[in-house]
């Protein structure tokens, strides 16, 4: 603490945000392991396929990150994904022309669900865990009440392009559109989190009062986080629906999987700590892990057990493992 500040901010090193290091290390190990386990991973196409598969979860992780880092939970994303796919199928009903207005409508629906979650959380002071749990039940029921029990209609080819198809790039081969979309969202998320609003969102998770007294619109920003989470679920639904078509089970269990992913990325439940890149890396790590286990022919049961051990270990490492580190730093 004898050093004074560097003269400008321009010389700052590229610094890994807190908690990003471990997850990236694990991810690297998994990717290398994948290369050994499956011949397909010896070339870019294999990794692109992995990214394509991971894209929906990674996008959900971005949305969930906003909510978690500002101190909340969003348990409604899984059923929101299902609802969006079912809504899309019913509204499009195989009509190519409908795609153009249905996609904005889906995004708006996601935003609306997020808005409701956010408003109830911030205005009615209901813990977000409960709000989004209630929303999970409501969405689960409402969408099938509307369609009479099972999905109806069909998705158009145009709707499915983003989730399913790709474009040719020299050297890389076919790059899926979803990977491109993912890349765009990653950039957008990183830019957002580096900007004022993003930093303020993290500060809310850390100390809400300081932001409030600092003139921040805490309620609005927290609501924004839920809206972004809702929109991310809509985008994930477009990708998942595009990837595999209509299904009534498409969002099952996604809410816990995405929270696992975000936590795996070192984002602290309760807010105020963690980076969006790490959250996405957590999602990719999880998907890479599933792919690896699958390639190794590990049975389904072991898969969830491994997932369980990993999240406990990751969080335990983050909270216990950091303590000696912390003391060293504070001297």
């Amino acid at each position: 603490m004898t050093e004074t500040l560097p003269a400008t901010g321009k010389t700052r090193r590229i610094r890994l945000a807190d908690g990003t290091g471990p997850v990236l290390a694990v991810l690297a190990v998994l990717l290398v392991a994948l290369a050994f386990a499956g011949p397909a991973y010896s070339e870019p196409a294999g990794y692109l396929a992995l990214l394509k598969r991971a894209a929906p979860l990674m996008i959900l992780a971005i949305g969930q990150y906003f909510v978690i880092v500002s101190g909340g939970f969003d348990l409604s994303v899984g059923s929101l994904v299902t609802a969006e796919v079912v809504i899309a199928a019913r509204l499009i009903d195989g009509d190519e022309g409908a795609t153009v207005w249905v996609i904005p409508l889906l995004l708006a629906t996601g935003a609306l669900v997020g808005l409701v979650n956010g408003l109830i959380t911030t205005r009615l002071l209901v813990p977000s865990f409960i709000v989004t749990l209630g929303m999970l039940l409501v969405l689960d029921g409402a969408v099938f009440l509307w369609t009479g029990g099972s999905p109806r209609g069909a998705l158009s080819e145009a709707f499915r392009v983003v989730g399913r198809e790709g474009f040719e790039v020299p050297l890389l081969g076919a790059v899926p559109w979803s990977v491109l979309l993912l890349a765009a969202l990653v950039v957008a998320a990183v830019v957002f989190m580096r900007g004022g609003t993003g930093r303020t969102l993290v500060a809310i998770g850390d100390n809400e009062t300081s932001v409030l007294l600092g003139g921040g619109r805490v309620e609005r920003l927290r609501t924004l986080a839920f809206v972004l989470s809702g929109v991310s679920a809509a985008i994930a639904a477009i990708l998942l629906g595009g990837f595999a078509g209509v299904s009534a089970q498409v969002g099952d269990g996604l809410e816990f999987r995405v929270i696992t992913a975000v936590v795996l990325g070192g984002v602290v439940l309760g807010g105020g700590r963690g980076s969006v890149v790490a959250a996405m890396a957590g999602a990719l790590t999880l998907e890479a892990l599933f792919s690896l286990l699958n390639l190794l022919g590990v049975a389904g049961g072991l898969e969830s057990a491994v997932q369980g051990v990993i999240i406990i270990a990751a969080v335990a490492y983050a909270s216990v493992g950091r303590i000696p580190f912390r003391t060293r730093r504070s001297t």
Binding site: M1, T2, E3, T4, L5, P6, A7, T8, G9, R12, R15, G195, G196, T197, R199, T200, V202, A203, D206, N207, T209, S210, V211, L212, L213, G214, G215, G216, R217, G272, R273, R329, S330, T331
Partner: protein, 504 residues
Amino acid sequence: MVVTGLTDEAPVVRMRGIGKQFLGNAVLRDVDLDLHPGEVHALVGENGAGKSTLMKILAGVHRPDSGSVELGGSEATFGSPREAQAAGISIVHQEFNLLGDRTVAENVYLGREPVRRGQVDRRRMEADTAELLDGLGERGISPRTPVRRLAVAQRQVVEIVKALSTDARVLAMDEPTAALADHEVELLYGLVKRLRQRGIAILYVSHRLREVFDLSQRITVLKDGEPVTSTATAELTPDQLVRHMVGRPLDALFPDRAAESETGAVRLAVRGGGNARLAGIDLELRAGEIVGLAGLQGAGRSAVARAICGVDPFATGTLELEGRPVTIGSPRSAIRHGIAFVTEDRKGEGLALRQSVRDNALLVRRAAFGRARGLGALDLAALLRSVTLVARGPGQEVRYLSGGNQQKVVLAKWLAVEPRVLVVDEPTRGIDVGAKKAVYDLLRGLARGGVAILMISSELPELIGMSDRVLVMHEGRLAGELPAGPSEEAVMTLATGHTTVEAA
């Protein structure tokens, strides 16, 4: 250093040569302290002098690095507050250690519930609590009331009862009046006197000289972790005590006041401002001046600050900025009108501790202005230099900074939005002398730059030394205005509504 006891009884606590270091900084060096039964021993000193640390060593929260603690004549080292408690030493914390949803009795016996036939003996617990409350003359509090429903002073009583319920022989009280209104302090006086009569030894930590002289029989002054003097109260005058505490002429710390020519037009004016806690507030702040706002704790100083800054806005009256009436209903609107508010609770309200220096310094700018609308470009490095921040870099998390540097970050985040009115509430609480001086210089520099500053402080010398004018509050109203450099006595006269003030 130790003067002979006033009472002939042997001291119940003898602390000898106590030393303590935190992270290599010595906060206590070779401190001796005796506590006698039935005696109030005041421990005074500036913030950061080591009072709290010494008290926590007594209460078993910290272990001393050197020296010894004797209790009733035999060596005692306490590994935990529990052990100290068992030995008869209890502590009344400055911050309440109470559970709002539990009843008074449940709080008093928290962790030590009497058990009878396998279950908690509620009847006994409540009866004993009632008895303790009775013994202190507090009949207004029912042992069955949830603490949430009690007034702050009543909670303080509960804290004290909690401390007494362990059959304490020694009671350490840390700023027990900090949260109390003026008339509530009187209640506490009575309480302390009754405790004395029971033969309890009391270590009384306070920065309020009046209380010290009213209550104590002996005073120990700490300065920078070292004992300056330990004397019978009767042998000291307030003037002497202040000199012991400060150790040097206070004046040297404070920059020169504003010259007449430097004060400009009225920047902010409140007329007839009032809300639940305030009534009839009329005040003016001029560009370039520092106005001190004095008053006892609870007199409404912070309420004025919170009202001006939109946290708990005025419900009545008008507020004018540069002659134009404005409505300020939220911190956001205050900030957008150029009003900045350095709150007294740095950690709770000021900083996002796990975020970096940069993020904290930019917090207000980002939170209140979004894309920096209406603000010029910001040179963060220059800003941080201007507050003389010492940190590893803008990426360092603020929780790793010292209190003084944390306060500089708080100031920086407000300076980043170029305020025209700056309200500072206890700007030097809990920071060391060097940092204090830096804060003083910074505030004066800002005033020179044309900022109107309203400063609140419980430390009268500081307030007097810094202010170009002093406004004094009493029970939610402005009791009067004093010109630059008033005597403490003059301030206290207005603040207490009395004509005589014992403390300098």
